[in-house]
């Protein structure tokens, strides 16, 4: 049950904060400024997409007939 690590919201946000600080410091050479700017806008795009497309996934652990633990969808009764 390991998570997909292709995109980490936490790392993206940390990097985004870093880029904002670096750019606001304003002493980067022009080349790296452009790189940072592009990286920053890409992170913004990815994070926004993750937020937009997120749908809560809820499962519960249950034992199947053979006694093994498995994840099954769970909906709390209202």
């Amino acid at each position: 049950m390991s998570k997909e690590k292709s995109f980490s919201f936490e790392q993206s946000m940390a990097r985004l904060e870093e880029i904002v600080k670096l750019l606001e410091k304003g002493d980067a050479p022009l080349d790296s400024l452009l790189e940072l700017y592009e990286e920053g806008t890409e992170l913004i795009r990815k994070c926004s997409k993750a937020l937009d497309s997120a749908e809560q996934k809820v499962t519960k652990l249950a034992r199947n007939e053979s006694g093994e633990i498995e994840q099954v969808p769970f909906a709390a009764e209202e």
């Binding site: 390991s2 919201f9 750019l23 606001e24 994070c47 809560q56 809820v58 499962t59 709390a76």
Partner: protein
């Protein structure tokens, strides 16, 4: 009124009685069983009430500082055991119980067990702040150890979904009350910690009586929470309920919904942050470029860039001036040389044989053109040439006079 000297003022008497009561060791720490009545919480935060039994009543006060530690909501009619000291309030001349604690009667043994376990685990360092793990900022997977039925799990899932749907929720259904509850909670905590790769564990239950919440005062549950490598939020009952789990957990939430609020960021806030970051990045890039452009403009405004010919003219003027200086120096130098030459030429002129001839001397040379300066150099009869200042003479030697 036989003895006027024994008459006291009211305040004096009250002070005397107070001193007497305060000096009685039995009254400095008492436990009183009774029923709460006339319970009032003043805006000051102090609690005032009366303890009653079948035919007596006792005025009681609990100050704000102690009242804040109450683990239940006192209500009129509730049977309690109040602990504190007895003293006199001199203004009213009434004695009262100054409460330091109130516990529901009938749970005496449970509270004793609670206090003893709390002391023990505190002593072992299970509540130490430095052992508390930081919570993840953006949890990706949250394990919830609670009952699959009831308001608690519903509240947790609802709040998590509303705030941060990015987090996957895995429920580990357990019984949260009854004799089996502690064992199930412990097993679920261990499983969640070891097998689920969760960033965070929430465990707890909704409100209930002190007995209902008791599984979260279990020593094994406390130790299982402490053993988790994953951060744990404890959310048991309502705001005033405090359990051992709350002390051991990395964070105590007042209620299950509160646990969900503490567990995840709010999507709206993160949206705002991202929007702000977008603006800041654009702003920073623009002001960076603006600064570079300004510098460029500043440089190009310098004289050399704006009027290169003027700059060159300047250089040319300087060059001209230098040339002038050089020419002057050369003339000076040449002039000096000429004077020296004239002097030298004059000196040379003075030595010229022609000048000597002009003074009347003559120059004699032989037929071979050699200058004759001795009579021995010629013989008689030999032809010689005599050069005068003007013209010359061809002569023949008649006689030599040797000296």
């Amino acid at each position: 009124m036989k003895n006027e000297s024994r008459i006291l003022g009211v305040g004096e008497l009250n002070a005397l009685v107070k001193a007497l009561v305060d000096s009685e060791p039995l009254l400095s720490s008492v436990l009183v069983r009774g029923e709460l009545s006339n319970y009032k919480i003043y805006p000051s935060g102090h609690h005032y009430f009366t303890l009653k039994d079948a035919d007596s009543s006792l005025r009681c006060v609990m100050f704000r500082r102690e009242a804040a530690k109450l683990r239940f909501r006192p209500e009129n009619g509730m049977k309690v055991i109040a602990g504190g000291r007895v003293s006199v309030y001199p203004r009213d001349g009434a004695y009262q119980l100054y409460c330091s604690e109130i516990n529901p009667d009938g749970l005496g043994n449970l509270y004793l067990a609670f206090e003893q376990l709390k002391e023990k685990l505190l002593g072992e360092g299970l509540f130490a702040q430095e052992t508390k793990k930081p919570l993840p900022k953006y949890p990706e997977r949250i394990a919830v150890v609670t009952s699959p039925a009831g308001a608690a799990v519903r509240d947790i899932i609802r709040v998590l979904g509303a705030r941060w749907p990015l987090a996957e929720v895995i429920l580990l259904p357990v019984r949260v009350q009854g004799a089996e509850a502690p064992r199930e909670i412990c097993a679920a905590l261990r499983y969640a910690d070891a097998k689920l790769d969760a960033d965070l564990i929430i465990t707890g239950r909704g409100g209930g009586s002190a007995e209902d919440l008791w599984a979260f005062n279990d020593e094994n549950v406390a130790r299982a929470i402490f053993a988790c490598k994953t951060p744990v939020i404890s959310a048991v009952g309502h705001e005033p309920d405090v359990t051992i789990s709350d002390f051991v957990a990395d964070l105590r939430a007042a209620t299950p919904s509160n646990a969900a609020e503490l567990a995840v960021p709010d999507r709206e806030e993160i949206y705002s942050f991202i929007e702000a970051a977008d603006k800041r990045i654009r702003g920073a890039a623009l002001s960076y470029l603006k600064a570079k452009r300004q510098r460029l403009e500043m440089l190009s405004k310098r004289r050399v860039m704006e009027m290169p010919s003027a700059y060159i003219d300047d250089k040319r003027l300087r060059l001209d001036r230098l040339q002038g200086m050089l020419a002057h120096a050369a003339v000076q130098s040449l002039h000096g040389s000429r004077e020296k030459f004239a002097a030298a030429a004059a000196a040379l002129d003075a030595l010229s044989p022609l000048k000597v001839l002009a003074r009347g001397y003559s120059l004699v040379s032989g037929e071979n053109g050699k200058i004759i300066s001795s009579a021995r150099s010629v013989r008689a009869g030999e032809k010689i040439n005599v050069t005068l200042s003007k013209g010359s003479l061809e002569c023949t030697v008649d006689e030599r006079k040797l000296k």
